[in-house]
Amino acid sequence: MALVHLVWFRRTTGQWIGEWKGLVPEPDIDPTIIGDERLRLMNAWQQRIQSTLGPRCLPGEQEWNLDEWDACPSGGAVCLDVTRFGWPIGDHAWHRWDDPHRMLDWGDEHTFIEIRTDTMEIVANQRSHRPIRDAVPGQHVVDITHTQWARFYGRIFGRFIWREGEQRWSFMPSGTEGCCAPKELAEAPIDLGLGVEKESVYHGEFVQRARH
């Protein structure tokens, strides 16, 4: 058996449909066949393998955009073997497929902030072509792409304070003049993807700890 990581994209839009990683039977191809003919046979083998794969059907590590799957017509997708990247399942979600050129391309970078969930301080500003997931205990990554926060990338340092009366987070910038985010972000809406579970006092101000 061979471990493969397969990704499906829409051919017309290049949109990611889903990914699957698991064990499949080894291809049975004459080792003396090389070059273009071998590639053709390997592609045909993969086409047979992938025909048994889809959402809800088989065990395997997988993620799917079910809306894209349902919208994709017969023959409207391409299946790529991306095993060589060695990336986790789901990391190809922002890839784009260029069907005429048979090229896997990058979308725009996403912008993130990372916060400590005990003090709600921002510890990092980040940009990446690939998803950045929570990897440090006690810290949480927030994707701020396409929000008014994103254009201040590299300057967003400070901490969030829970406004109980308004039921929202507000932002208190830190740092010296010129290197920190402008005060207008203090009132800018943001979804931190966190709940609030208990009150605490931090630096003399009323805040609430985030539930992570």
Partner: protein
């Protein structure tokens, strides 16, 4: 993560049956049958204050396989920049370390870069 809500995840397993469940795929390409554009990058920056003489900050990172990383240090003050370096783990976290190189008031950011080439 920008992925729609319609996601399912299950445990690792293997292909068992040969029932065709996917007629959506027009064609399939193995590695070597398609091209990939250049590289992917991750840029991260952390802040440090005037009182930080030796600061370590661990930030979440992409999981790197063939990536290389580098670090630098930028300041907005007049005194010495100091030293900065990073180490990269394959587990999805990157540690940014900043050491003050001289006395004086320094504030600014340390940056970490992760690049993967194809």
């Amino acid at each position: 993560m920008g992925i729609s809500s319609g996601i399912i995840s299950t445990v690792t397993g293997s292909v068992g049956s040969v029932t065709t469940v996917n007629d959506k795929t027009g064609y399939s390409l193995t590695a070597g049958s398609y091209s990939v554009r250049a590289s992917s990058t991750q840029h991260g920056s952390v802040s440090f204050g005037a009182s930080d003489s030796d600061l370590n900050v661990t930030i979440s990172s992409v999981t790197v396989t063939r990536a290389f990383a580098s670090g630098d240090s930028r300041t907005n003050a007049v005194t010495e920049v100091g030293q900065s370096f990073i180490s990269t783990e394959l587990t999805g976290a990157t540690t940014v370390n900043k050491k003050r190189g001289a006395s004086g008031t320094i504030t600014g950011t340390s940056a970490a870069e992760v690049m993967e080439l194809f």
